[in-house]
Amino acid sequence: MMPWLAQADPRLNMWALPPYSPQLWIAVIATVLVGILLVFGLTFLPTNLRRPIVTVMTFLAGSFYVGLWLWPQPVAKVETDLPRDMVESVGFWFQDAQQALANVANILTAFLLLLGMYSLLRIHLGRISKKHPDRAFSVVLIISMFLIVIFGYADWRMRTFLDPQNLLELKTNWTIWNHGRDILFDGLLMQMDAAMFSLIAFFILSAAFRAFRIRSVEATVMMVSALILIISLMPLVIYQSEMLIKAWFPNPSPGSFNPENYKIGTIAGWVKSNLQTPSLRAVEFGVGLGALAMGLRLWLGLEKGGVSV
């Protein structure tokens, strides 16, 4: 028997080893190596077996969530709860496994996000090596990228490992690494992010002026709907219309005609609730049905352009 299994801590077993212990390092490195060998082995796989492998992996990942939905689930399970029968045992297993699967999904998605950055780096390094006329901009991009990686990582390391008393919560205790991260992130990245997206405001005004024209019934209906909504977003206009209605009908008696219905805000609210909401719901409904159909096709491996090979 392996020696670390003999330890007294009940949390330790074959799958859970002491933190940063030599045996854990060996297990991790061995797992990665075995994984790399498997990946290497897959490169020799015959072409006709590739599609079934991808389809089976997709089907298994999807089947878990279908099973999770169909099988009765425990509510607010705590660690001391024990299953009473087979149904509960499977329900408990589903719930425990879902937590692990959610972690797996988070980790794999994170690796996929890194792919985007790798791709960007690849393109710009390629531009520099091929002496593209715009290579100076690629250099700028790579320098910016590395600067924020260095300062961002240093800032995180200080806060996570070197600041047990949370002193860095106060700006007065910051070092050059914290200020560097703040200038790059808050001073530049955040402001540019906001600036980039705000440019659309200028384009939208130009588009409204040039393209929002009464050319058909549909265009007119759309314009009227948009204008009603835009007016309902101007508090002063709605407020003044309320004052006007109040001046025209100063003291309505209970049980009589209700002047409130004729305020611009109420009319805009009615249009929003009874015309805009159901029409958007119809769109959402259609999209939902499409997503359901696409989900089933992906899960069952019927989607040709999706994950199939």
């Binding site: 047990p164 402001q191 705000s198 508090p235």
Partner: protein
């Protein structure tokens, strides 16, 4: 041969940069015009405020903050007003994102700024571990939301620094002690600029009371969830920020200094109180005049664009349409 342009043609095909300049000037003017703007709050916004104010003192709220500064003009005002309400009511919160790796640093900056503001007003600041827990970013929104639905304790189970700098399980924190399932939270608020609203509603709305603070782009979709009761209230866009701040300053069904109710609320006879400490009118109030100018300009642009089109057509009757 190209025909001669008349006045309306010139207007129709004006250089777009003039439009940009006019918009810029209007916005700067609007920002510098300081005046109190009377408001009529949207119904969904009133429900949002009433729902947040219903959370008992010392209760716990889950905040999914999925925005970054690309929508700072709306979402920062949303998160600021939400935090101001929660801090005034001493409500604790767990904050996380399922959307963007930048989002955690963005809300950390917002919390720091609000804490600095409260400190300058001699109000208690919010401390990590004691008053709130920050669990950061999770890359896969769909799987993570289902994990929160199934077993919130297992999903968020991790070690974080307590107020003395010692690593402890987050469920030992005063913020999380009563949370065994997601429904134990008094409210779930999602502050978002993206379709993570759909992901959250689809997976959690039948387990916990949900409210949302969304950008104008997501607003129409949010209203479909609000109409069906899946969201208890929604604050939409910059108008939603101003509505929330206005209700923070005036309450609902609450008499003002002259004895008159400033914001009426049909859904309840009982008043929903205003916020009595710290800032109430803030970002929304300082942006709302500029929003009026900008929206007015759009209406004007659409009307002039159409008049120019018809006038140009009439003037060139018989000529080739451009």
């Amino acid at each position: 041969m190209r025909r001669k342009q008349n006045f309306w043609d010139e207007i129709q095909f004006i250089d777009r940069r003039w439009l940009y300049l006019v918009l810029g000037v209007f916005l700067v003017l609007g920002l510098n015009l300081k005046c109190a703007v009377s408001n009529v709050c949207a119904e969904e916004g009133k429900d949002f405020y009433a729902t947040v104010m219903k959370v008992p003192e010392g209760g716990t709220v889950l905040i999914q903050s999925d925005w970054t500064t690309s929508t700072r003009g709306e979402s920062q005002g949303h998160l600021e007003s939400l935090l101001r309400i929660l801090m005034t009511k001493r409500v604790k919160f767990l904050i996380y994102t399922f959307a963007d790796p930048q989002a955690p640093q963005v809300w950390r900056n917002v919390i720091r700024v609000i804490n600095e503001e409260r400190e300058s007003q001699n109000l208690p600041v919010y401390r990590p571990w004691v008053d709130y827990i920050d669990v950061g970013y999770f890359a896969n929104a769909e799987g993570s939301s289902i994990a929160v639905r199934n077993d919130i304790r297992r999903f968020f189970s991790r070690q974080v620094k307590d107020d003395k700098g010692i690593n402890r399980s987050i469920f030992e924190s005063p913020v999380m002690t009563k949370i065994n399932k997601v429904g134990d939270a008094d409210l779930f608020v999602i502050v978002t600029a993206s379709a993570t609203l759909d992901v959250a509603v689809q997976r959690l709305s039948d387990r916990v009371n949900m409210a949302a603070m969304v950008t104008g782009v997501i607003g129409p979709t949010a209203l479909t969830f609000y109409q069906s009761g899946q969201l208890k209230g929604v604050a939409i866009g910059l108008k939603g920020v101003y509505d929330t701040e206005y209700m923070m300053a005036n309450g609902l069904n609450t008499p003002g200094p002259d004895g008159k109710i400033v914001v009426e609320y049909d859904r309840s006879e009982a008043p929903v109180p205003k916020i009595t400490e710290g800032k109430t009118l803030a970002r929304g109030a300082s942006y709302i005049v500029a929003l009026h100018f900008a929206l007015g300009l759009v209406i004007f642009a659409v009307v002039v664009g159409n008049i120019a089109m018809f006038a140009s057509r009439a003037a060139n009757k018989g000529g080739k349409r451009r």
